[in-house]
Amino acid sequence: MDLIGLTIKQAHEGLKNKEFTSVDLTKAYLEKIKKSDLNAFISITEDLALQQAEEADRKIASSSQILRSKTSEDKGEFGMLCGIPCAIKDAIMVDGQKCTAASKILENYVAPYDATVIKRLKEQGAVILGKTNTDEFTMGASTENSAFGVVKNPHDKTRVAGGSSGGSAASVAADEAIYSLGSDTGGSIRQPASFCGVVGLCPTYGAVSRYGLIPHASSLDQIGPIGKTVEDVKIVFEAILGKDKMDATSVEYKFEEAEVDLKDLKIGVPKEYFAKGLDPEVEKLIRSSIEKAEKAGAKIIEISLPATEYALACYYIIGPSEISANLARFDGIKYGLSIQDGNLLDVYLKSRGEGFGDEVKRRIMIGTYCLSSGYYDAYYKKAQEVRQLICQDFANAFKRVDLLFCPVSPFPAFKIGEKADDPLSMYLADIYTVATKLAGLPGLSLPVGKVGNLPVGLQIIGNHFEESKILSVALWIENN
């Protein structure tokens, strides 16, 4: 049996039926990662993975004994994620392992504790293969901002895998992990999932604890799963969601599986998301998914989100403003790179000047500018007002429809280097993903076809905490 290329459910069945062990599975994936030239991983956590796999095998063996002896009330079921190898974005902390955020400033930083999502995965018996590549501090749309080199797209190695969770998406697409965790601040799960042809879910703000995620912009950051199928994504999402006392913005969340009948469904199509700049081939694929849903009985309603044109500018003021505050912690004193030269101020200036890459510096500068005396009202305060407009747009839309269908990205994966020297054109790659984040809404990228050999993702946006509705409809599209 080929151990590579399984979904979570298939791997779980294989483990249950004793077709292979978690150690077999883990070794096969480690082998695959080592042979790969995609650069999806910054580090491989081989010792941890094998130790977790052995532990999972013990758990699986003892649960089947319980099952045979029937002496226990326990049904002997082991969790769906037990023994399943996964990959973790290198901005999420795994106790005792390096966590670089793809930055030179954290090149040798060892995580002192587990992120809450990691704690939850470990409780399930997960196997962590390694830490995946990302844009530095998750800032970018291509992983070209990584201090450890770009991730290549598995479908075309001359192209980017998207970003910032490019390594997490590419690893799943190339079968270097069964599933992965990424994080999404302005599109960083959905866009690479779209570029790599895998399923990526950015949950509602507050659905998943951010504790142990190296912060980018705290009012926007959210951790979410990337998988081969909608079902896989759902399994992982259920494992990581919920209130955590270490993250005051996380909420109690009772996820209830929904089976949505398309005949009862109203799908909104925001006209601003089909405007100039959208690749006609991408549009064709998105439109054909919409038609498919319509044929199955869904009601399609064109809607307008008038503040859409302001979303990107709003995002690139609020994001960098929060970045400039969040990244003040990298001072050359508490952790990370430290250049001990001159006085205390020199340590700050030089450690940060040397340790941060170009895009991080650019965003710190933008944020510092927007928050500085004399500019605050014109930029930051104005952006907060616009954020309200965007929230209101979506609130109005969800009075009329259940879900929104639109593209994830205006184009499929672009060439490595194509946008690297033009920050503004790179920012424009986020045009369809930032608005939902400003409103704290969940969104999913679902592969719905290809332009040439490049995958294209449909974005399904739901109202707050309606992930079950999104997942149910995504599952229907996936199966039809």
Binding site: Y109, V110, P112, Y113, Y205, G206, K245, M246, A248, T249, V251, A307, E309, Y310, A313, C314, Y316, I317, D331, G332, I333, K334, Y335, G336, L337, Q340, N343, L344, V347, Y348, L349, K350, R352, G353, E354, D358, K361, R362, M365, I366, T368, Y369, S372, Y379, K382, A383, E385, V386, Q388, L389, C391, Q392, F394, A395, P423, L424, Y427, A439, G440, H464
Partner: protein
């Protein structure tokens, strides 16, 4: 175009050392990006809104919650330390 002096002032506030080339590039990039932000000038003022469902900025009591003790791990991450303390350069 944003001036060299302005970039240097912001860099100082942000505690970033920038090379001459970086300052030049930053002048160009920041100017383009800030120009793009001008788009927001024509955005209308929002109506006074009720708290939407999306407003999740929950508050909590300001109280100490004891958690796992990782003091040693945190100290050991510091580049310069002595006897369980993080060393900082003198500031007077």
């Amino acid at each position: 175009m944003i001036s060299k002096e302005e970039v240097e002032r912001i860099a100082r506030l942000a505690r970033l050392e920038l090379s001459k080339d970086e300052i030049k590039k930053m002048q160009k990039d920041l100017s383009e990006i800030l120009d793009y932000f001008n788009l927001l000038k024509k955005a209308p003022k929002p109506e006074k809104m009720e708290k939407t469902e999306g407003d999740l900025r929950a508050t909590r009591k300001d109280e100490v919650i004891s958690s796992h003790d990782i003091t040693d791990e945190l100290i050991s991450a510091a580049p310069d330390k002595k006897d369980g303390y993080i060393k900082v350069k003198e500031i007077f």
